[in-house]
Structures are given as structure tokens and as C-alpha cells.
Subunit: 383 residues, 2 copies
């Protein structure tokens, strides 16, 4: 079968942006077209990953607006929403559009405009994704992160400092990402002394609220060869849900959606966890990087923290994780995040990651919706 | 290639429902599983067609909630939004999931809960899909319908009564649809004397605001044969956008999205318009049934109105259109409508349409988003 290739990518500056969702999407879309050297009228399918333009801006129909703004008519469009994993779900939709033969040239643009709303308002929109038994009692995603972090530290005898080191590592990586929201190193004391948000987690254990957009151009590998020598392929991709009610999970330190989606992706790619050479994980909270690194099979259960302590996941380690800076320092514009993860892996695989470049031919991106309620895992390989 | 089959379907009662979106989706989903004789744990992908649960109910993450409510974990889920054509876009997503090999058993559930909000509030959510140059000046979708109807009547010398006859026909069909919001015939005088909404269109030229849900179960044809002899196949499917700004269209009586999406679907199915034996069109406004019936190639440009006058599109005519009652009498719960269109064609093709049954082996559903901003066309055949 003709594999699905990525032949171009872009991301906007992430952060507090003086632009609406339509402008952010168009900015990323135009840049990705230029990067792929594809004209708008070649686009057959145009997907938009976005959770909540209606709730955040009172603007719906954003995919049609984007087709207009990019002059991509009559390209087919649709919006893909999977809450904070909308980007990964968009990658899956774009992959399916090419793999099914429906489209020979698909663009995915993910984005979210959030910072014009207060943190309370944004949190309210995000909290509405959880089960009513949870959010009506005040158990929001940060609360789950705190509870899970405490359980993890106790169960696996991990030091509190190990969580802080995830923040330190990802901030250090973000310094070299020109699109990142925060391009500054933080030291461990700063992280550990920052204000408590959900004990034991503190301010620097959390990603920020962010505006931004990212875009990718997909086509069959046979078509890709006509455009460029610098492409990457998606060799495995899968998605899975976990219980919508978090307290129904047998072991809250295991994310079933990560386990199940990655099993599908590994099988499709015919690869093992040991084959992965660089990964972007969904570090919305520092604790999530531990859980995913274990549930993806990179490290034994309860030992993800040791990998961070030992520098295994540093940029110059055996398995660099979040070379982009992760959600932690790059920022987390919901619909864009999963797209930006794949952007980073693509850049690494084609050797265009600048100061962030590592030596890798196989990469993985794991995008988490809710508190692991739905997860998409994508495995990519250099051509 | 193994074609994509539909092996089960359901729709809830459409109308004013005392149930939230999650309940409506679960009701349709459970009924479709029962209809297909498929257990929840067989579902690999679960898509939800829904435009605006966040705006209407303050509830996001609905696909995860549905996976929970149907006990379909760890099935992958995502929400597909394409405004009023979200249902058709969901059908396309479900088709792609099976055709790409990503899923061997996909469920699509479309739904919307709207009637708890005032007409003004609902209209406001819907109007936000249009370009700001339009809605900020008060040009809403009903306004476009009035302007287009006037232009159509003038250009093609069609009588005002012909529009009314669309309403009369579809209400008559709806009487035999147990799930329809309105199950009563209306006479032409009632339609023509109803209050003006957007001249020349009156109240009975418009579909109602509706709560409801519909669901479909998709799998490869080779798998379908293991489950049932009563299945239908999707032999052609396509989607396309038109200009996001309606006044940029060269001829406002032509819907480019209908033309372009159906060309893709016809080519894929290797069929011509003359091969279609039953169709569900998006009669959100009576005028749209004329435009689609022409742009799909059923009738010459400017002659769709004659077909209605001559009874060609009646249930016992040569090309029955909207045997379900259409959006006009069945109702229009945004995310459900495109799914319910395919439900009707499926029922007709497997010979399970009860009093609405016509003699057909090839059917078509055309689902329109915005004022033709994005359109999905699906062609189905009996096995």
C-alpha cells in the first residue's frame, strides 16, 4: 500500500496573539502551503482541528472560512474536535482521507484562540468536557493531575523533584524553539517554590493557556516523491478511549488510551517501543510525561521518573522527549497542540529542526484528550 | 476494493425532546447497535456528528461521553462538525475510517439538542457560521433563501405556488414517518397564506428547529455478509465547498458545492444522475430542493420546479424526493440531519421503509452546510 507522507508543515508563533482564530489558521495554512510548494487549488481535503471556536469566539463554520481565506475552494472541509487531542484526531482524519483514496492532497490546520478569555472562562470551557459527576463537584483536569501525581509519587517511591525536572528539561528545550510561548530556562528551585495549584503540583508543573496554529500537508508517498525529497511518512497511527469517568479506572497511574492507541500504532508500523528515537508527549501537566513514557512502553511502569532523573529523555539522551519544549514551554492552543507535535517530529525526521535537531529516523507523537479520555498516537519514519 | 456497507441504522423521535444531547445520542446509538446486531465492544471507531453542543448546552467532549454511555471503550472517537452538514461529513468520516482500513466496524451517531433555547438564540448560533460581512449586517440564512427564491422565480419564470408544493409534498410524505416532527398534511393555501418570513418565502417554506439523533453502523462489505443479508453499500461519496461569502457566487441559483460534491460521487460510483431512483435532499428551505435537484443533474437548470408541479418527485413519481418528509416535516436537528438522510435511503434500499417504501436500488443523499458553503453527497446501492 502507498504510505501516507507529510510534505510540508508550519506553525505560527504560539503565545498571546492579537489575531482571531480565522487569522491564526490562515497564517499557518498559507505557511504550510509555501513550505510544501503546493498551491491552494491542489488541496482536495482541508481539515481543521479546533475544540471550541464557538465557545471562545462565537464563531462557527471556521473550516469554510479557512477554505475561503486560503482560496482552496472547492476543497472539502470539516472540523475535527476531540477536546485537547483535536490535533491528533485531525492527523488521524487527514491520514484516513489519503489512505482511503478520497484525497490525494490533504491539508490539516489546527488552532485555538483562547487568551482573550479569562483563565476562569477558558477553564470552564475545558472543564465541560469531563463527566458531570466530576466537574459539578469541582474536580477539574488540574485536580486530577494533582491527585494522580500524589498517587504516582507514593506508589513508585518517586521524589517530588523528578516532576520538577520535567519542567526544567522542557523549558530548556523550548529556548531553541522560535515558535514557543516561553523561551526561558527555569531552575529546579523556581519550579519547586512556585505557587501550589493542585498539591503536590505547582504553577510550573502546568502548561499555559495559549493562542496558536499549526498546519501539515499530507499526500500518498507516490505523490510526495513528485514534490520533494524531504518528506516523512506515517507508518502507524491509532486512537483509543479510556473511561469517561476517571475514578472508574482500575489504576489511575495507567492511561488506557495511551496503551491501546499505541498498540494499534505499533502493530501497524511493525515497530516496538524500543525502535522510537524521538517523541513528543502531551505534557499538559508534568506528571503526564511520566505516565505516557511508561504506557507507551518506553520505560517500565513506575520508572519513567528515573529516565528523567538520569537524563535519558534530554535532547542529548538516548530517547529525547519533547525536543520542541512540549506543551509546557511551547504552549497548548488546544486544537493546534497535536498538530504541532507532528510538526516537531516531521522537522526532526527531515533534519530541519535547527538547534533542536537530534539523530532520529523514527519518531512518535502522543496527543491526549481530557485526562486520557481519548488519545491518538502517531508513529512517523523518515523516508 | 471491498466496498463500505451499512448494516444497521436508527433514528430517534425528532421534535421537541425532554432529553439532553448525551441522552439523544445514546438512544440512537443503542438502537443502531441492536438493529445491526453488533455489540458495543465490536465498535472500533465511533464518530459523533454535532455542530454545537458546547454553544447549545455548555457540554463538550460528547464523543467520549457517548463511548462511555454505550460501553464502547476503547473505541476511538471524534466529533465531526460541518455546521448543518455535520451529518454528511460524519458519513464521509465513517466511510473513510472503513475504506482506509483503520476500522472494520464504525458507528456514526449524529445529533443536536436545540429546542430548549429560544429561536433567536438558536438562530444566533447558526448565523455565526456565515461570513462576518453577512451576519453583522443581518443577512442570515433565511434572508439568503428569500433572496435566492425571488431570483429563481424571476429568472426561470416559475410560479410562487411551485415552492409551496414542495412543502405540501414533503408534509404528505412525513405523515408516514413515525419519527417525523410534523406528521400532518398541509394544503397549498395554508402554505401560501402563512406569515411572511423572508419574502417571497413564508413560514411553511422553512424547516423547524428540532431535537433528535440518528445512527448508522458501517463495515467492509466482506464483514457485512457475516452479519446480514440486508445491507446497502456506499458506492460514491464526495464533498466540496463553495464561496464562504454568498454574494461572490457568479450565479446564486447554482450551488457549486452540490455540483462539485456530486461529480466526485458520481464518478466514484460510475453512475449518472439518471441512475438515481430515490433521493433525500436538504430542504431546509423549499427553494433548496429545486436548486439541488438541478445541480445534482436530475433536471435541467431552471426546471426543477416543473418536476414538482408534474408530480415527478412525489412518492409514486419517477424520482421520489424526500420520502422521509425531508427536513421540512421530519425536522432538522443539525448534526442528525445528514445521518437521517442516509438512514432513509438505507431503509428504502433494504426494503424496510414501511408505508414510505418505493421501488429503488440506487439512492442519493445531499447534505448542505450553511447556504451551500460545504456539501456532502452520498450515493448508495442495494447489495
Amino acid at each position: 500500500m502507498d504510505r501516507v507522507a507529510i510534505i510540508g508543515a508550519s506553525m505560527t508563533q504560539f503565545g498571546q496573539r492579537d489575531a482571531w482564530i480565522r487569522e491564526l489558521l490562515a497564517e499557518a495554512g498559507q505557511a504550510a502551503l509555501a513550505d510544501a510548494d503546493v498551491s491552494p487549488d491542489e488541496i482536495e481535503h482541508l481539515y481543521v482541528s479546533n475544540m471550541a471556536s464557538g465557545e471562545f469566539e462565537g464563531q462557527t463554520g471556521v473550516p469554510n472560512a479557512l477554505a475561503h481565506d486560503l482560496a482552496a475552494m472547492p476543497a472539502y472541509t470539516a472540523r475535527i474536535d476531540q477536546t485537547s487531542s483535536s490535533g491528533g484526531a485531525g492527523v488521524y482524519a487527514a491520514w484516513q482521507s489519503v489512505a482511503s483514496g478520497a484525497s490525494d492532497m490533504t491539508m490539516l490546520v489546527g488552532g485555538e484562540k483562547m487568551t482573550h478569555r479569562s483563565t476562569a472562562e477558558s477553564t470552564d470551557v475545558i472543564a465541560s468536557l469531563t463527566h458531570p459527576v466530576e466537574y459539578k463537584h469541582g474536580v477539574t483536569l488540574p485536580s486530577f493531575a494533582g491527585l494522580t501525581a500524589r498517587l504516582y509519587l507514593d506508589t513508585y517511591d518517586a521524589p517530588r523533584e523528578s516532576l520538577g525536572k520535567v519542567a526544567v528539561k522542557n523549558h530548556k528545550n523550548g529556548v531553541d524553539n522560535p515558535h514557543a510561548q516561553f523561551r526561558k530556562e527555569v531552575d529546579l528551585d523556581t519550579v519547586l517554590d512556585s505557587p501550589v495549584v493542585a498539591d503536590p503540583l505547582r504553577l510550573y508543573d502546568f502548561c499555559p493557556i495559549t493562542d496558536g496554529s499549526a498546519a501539515l500537508v499530507f499526500c500518498p508517498e507516490s505523490v510526495a516523491r513528485e514534490y520533494t525529497d524531504d518528506y516523512a511518512v506515517i507508518s502507524g497511527i491509532g486512537g483509543a478511549t479510556d473511561t469517561h469517568v476517571v475514578h472508574e479506572r482500575a489504576d489511575p497511574t495507567t492511561m488506557g488510551g495511551v496503551v491501546n492507541s499505541s498498540e494499534i500504532a505499533y502493530e501497524m508500523a511493525d515497530l516496538e517501543p524500543d525502535d522510537i528515537e524521538v517523541a513528543e508527549l502531551h505534557d499538559m501537566f508534568t506528571i503526564l510525561e511520566f505516565l505516557q513514557s511508561e504506557d507507551l512502553g518506553f520505560f517500565e511502569k513506575g520508572e519513567g521518573w528515573k529516565a528523567v532523573e538520569e537524563g535519558v529523555t534530554d535532547r542529548d539522551g538516548d530517547l529525547p522527549i519533547n525536543t520542541s519544549g512540549g506543551l509546557k514551554s511551547k504552549g497548548h492552543p488546544l486544537g493546534a497542540s497535536g498538530v504541532a507535535q507532528v510538526y516537531e517530529i516531521y522537522k526532526q525526521l527531515i533534519g530541519d529542526a535547527g538547534k533542536r535537531q537530534v539523530d532520529a529516523d523514527v519518531g512518535l507523537a502522543c496527543n491526549v484528550g481530557g485526562f486520557g479520555n481519548c488519545v491518538t498516537t502517531t508513529i512517523m519514519e523518515s523516508r
